[in-house]
Amino acid sequence: MPVQFKERAISVTVNNRPDVLARIAGTFSARGFNIESISANITRNPAITKIIITTLTTPDTITKVIKQLNRLVDVLEAKRLRRPHAVCREMILARVPLSKEKQAAIRELLDTHGGKTVSLEPGFAVLEFTGDKEELEEILTSLEALGMEDFSRTGVIALERAKP
């Protein structure tokens, strides 16, 4: 893969309409852009939603993507969130089987990465971790070694460090 291709984050603020997510996704697919991850939720104003999308592109293409998004009627603003000016984080929930042998290793993993146990059932625990992409990849590798059965991962969310 050419060096220029990088995962880049976009913040899209939109009118909270039933089809707005379909519009955004449709723009990506219709124009041949990819969506690596997506996260959406309402802002403090329930009529406005913020969507963070990461896409694997070149610098040239990301500009085109942003322009296409800004052209949509329901998009209030689409902008790039550039590292290092923005913080990018993700979260995972992972279900691991509990056993006496694994207990210490699980405890260590939680302590090292500031994770927590969010659910405890006989024989199973659901653990929660947040971090950046690289960190979560490491954690997932460790969790697999601990016999992780299933996991759920959010898209990347991102925010500028200082007011632009």
Partner: protein
């Protein structure tokens, strides 16, 4: 006062000064049609919903107003998708009203239900599903505003049956002025930059595109051109923005552009593009496009800037304020391009025009180019010409020299065969006193032939000129030039008798089979009141030249057997 959804709809349409609807009834729009019976709005009943959308499109292109069509749910709506995509590609302001099943049934695979907002999401500028009667009036208002503002485009409004049938308090008519459109920040600064670049040019050239016509800026554009005496070439969509009869006119550029136009683009040192999106038919090989030029790009849509062609100066603006600013600033600063600076360039262009004008060879058959030339002559170049898509479209563009905007109605972006006949209907409705001609091929005319019924129904004096070569001409040309003459599925010898077909619709039909019959047939057709179909049996294997093979530079044109290279 309590009003039904249908009544509110008509109130909203009246607010938008809609005087005509092109449509076709169906189950989900019966209430609207019932209300229409009591209303004074003119409705043109077409014979296929694709005819309705193309007619609304043609109406918009000819008049500069928003075209409106009304169709039912399901197949009625899906029949408009081609026309919607067509309007989207050429940025034409149309509002498409579609019936829909009741809100409670949406998503249940109801009878004649289709997710039309889903289907048209990526080929409309925007679309709406009205779930609540309280939203209806506002949505119609918004739809028109979106259709006509900024870069125009099609907007679809999906109207569920129960919403139309329900009752609500009607809003009083608003007649509020449309919201101010955002202008270009620092327009003056950018225009001054542009002027600096123009004044340094020894070989300046302007490309004018459809955006100038959509922006209703033709007059201001001409004034600007005259001021600086910069030669002009046009894209297919820009034909008519600048008069072809003007000495500064250098032709249409592109795959089938004039020699002078393509050479001018290839050798200019300053290229100013206004209302142009640099489509591949116009640029051909992008890396070889205007290789020696600094490029100024004025366009209303930021998406078009730096998308295909790299620009040296971009001005994101409606062309009217940009051209006004350029004119005013150059007046204030007393700027002009001296003749001694660009005189040699003017001479070069004159030379190219004289060297290889658009031409064709005559023989014992009717040449299609000849028909267009004669048509131009007999209509004094002032008809509204709609076309279908193919060789005939290119010959119409080349040989009907347009002097005015809003006169050439052609499907440029999507290239939709079957566009011309219904578009001519829309244009004739918009401009009842103009001569409106559909120039068609024998293939294309059969795509929406049923609209002859609409023409007959309303006695519209549309003239249909069929350049009949018994082939899908453009396909055959490509097969001849690039596919070793393997004429796969391009043979249309099994054609109807177009004269008898016209007469079956109660329309006069005329035919010419020899060159000396052409003038008489055209004359008779144009002078006969009412609609006329004219079948011109033309040279079967005539090719459109010049031609630039895809992927090659504009400067490398073919002229049949003669090749010209810059």
């Amino acid at each position: 006062m309590q009003q039904t959804g249908s009544q509110i709809l008509f109130t909203a349409l009246k607010e938008e000064n809609v005087d005509t609807l092109f449509g076709y009834p169906g189950g989900c729009v019966m209430d609207i049609y019932d209300e229409m019976f009591r209303q004074k709005l003119r409705h043109i009943l077409v014979r296929h919903e694709q005819g309705a959308i193309h007619a609304a499109d043609g109406y918009a292109r000819a008049s500069g107003r928003v075209g409106v069509c009304l169709v039912t749910s399901g197949p009625g709506a899906t029949n408009t998708v081609t026309g919607i995509a067509n309007a989207y590609m050429d940025s034409i302001p149309v509002v498409v009203l579609t019936g829909q099943v009741s809100t409670a049934l949406i998503g249940s695979d109801g009878f004649q239900e289709v997710d039309i907002t889903g289907i048209t999401r990526t080929c409309t500028k925007h679309n709406f599903l009205v779930r609540n009667i309280g939203d209806l009036q506002r949505t119609i208002r918004e739809a028109f505003q979106i259709a006509r503002s900024g870069r125009p485009g099609p907007v679809l409004v999906d109207l569920p049956k129960d919403v139309i049938q329900s009752v609500a308090e009607a809003e009083l008519s608003r007649n509020a002025p449309p919201p101010e459109e955002e202008g270009c920040p620092d327009l003056e600064g950018l225009c001054n930059e542009a002027l600096k670049m123009i004044l340094q040019a020894k070989k300046p050239l302007i490309i004018v595109g459809g955006g100038v016509i959509l922006g209703k800026a033709s007059a201001i554009f001409r004034a600007f051109v005259k001021k600086f005496q910069i030669p002009v070439v046009s894209t297919l969509m820009g034909l008519g923005a600048f008069p072809a009869s003007d000495p500064l006119w250098t032709g249409m550029l592109g795959m089938h552009g004039a020699y002078s136009a393509n050479m001018a683009v290839s050798q200019c040192d300053l290229l100013m593009a206004i209302g142009v999106r640099f489509d591949d038919r116009a640029t051909s090989k992008v890396s070889a496009f205007a290789p020696n030029a600094r490029i100024i790009h004025i366009d209303i849509d930021p998406v078009s800037i730096d998308r295909i062609v790299r620009t040296d100066l971009a001005i994101v603006s409606h062309c009217t304020p940009a051209l006004n600013a350029l004119h005013r600033l150059s007046d204030e600063q007393g700027l002009e391009l001296p003749e001694q600076q660009i005189g040699a360039w003017h001479n070069q262009l004159r030379q190219w025009k004289a060297e290889k004008p658009l031409s064709y060879c005559r023989n014992q058959n009717i040449k299609p180019q000849y028909v267009i030339e004669k048509l131009h002559q007999l209509t004094q170049g002032r008809a509204i010409i709609a076309t279908e898509v193919g060789q005939h479209q290119m010959w119409a563009a080349q040989f009907y020299r347009f002097d005015e905007p809003n006169a050439f109605l052609t499907s440029g972006g999507l290239g939709t065969m079957g566009f011309g006949l219904p578009a001519a209907i829309g244009a004739q409705i918009a401009c009842p006193d103009r001569v409106v001609v559909d120039v068609a091929g024998d293939g294309s005319i059969q795509m929406n032939i049923q609209e002859l019924g609409t023409i007959a129904h309303y006695g519209l004096p549309v003239k249909v000129v069929i350049l009949n070569n018994l082939y899908l001409g453009m396909i055959r040309q490509w097969q001849e030039l690039f596919y070793g003459r393997r004429y796969s599925q391009s043979d249309m010898t099994q054609a109807p008798d177009f004269v008898k077909l016209a007469e079956a619709y109660g329309i006069k039909g005329l035919r010419a089979t020899k060159p000396d019959e052409v003038k008489n047939v055209l004359q008779e057709g144009l002078e006969t009141p009412g609609p006329v179909v004219m079948d011109f049996q033309v040279e079967p294997e005539e090719n459109v030249f010049p031609m630039v093979k895809p992927g090659t530079p504009l400067s490398e044109m073919s002229f049949g057997n003669v090749r010209a290279v810059a």
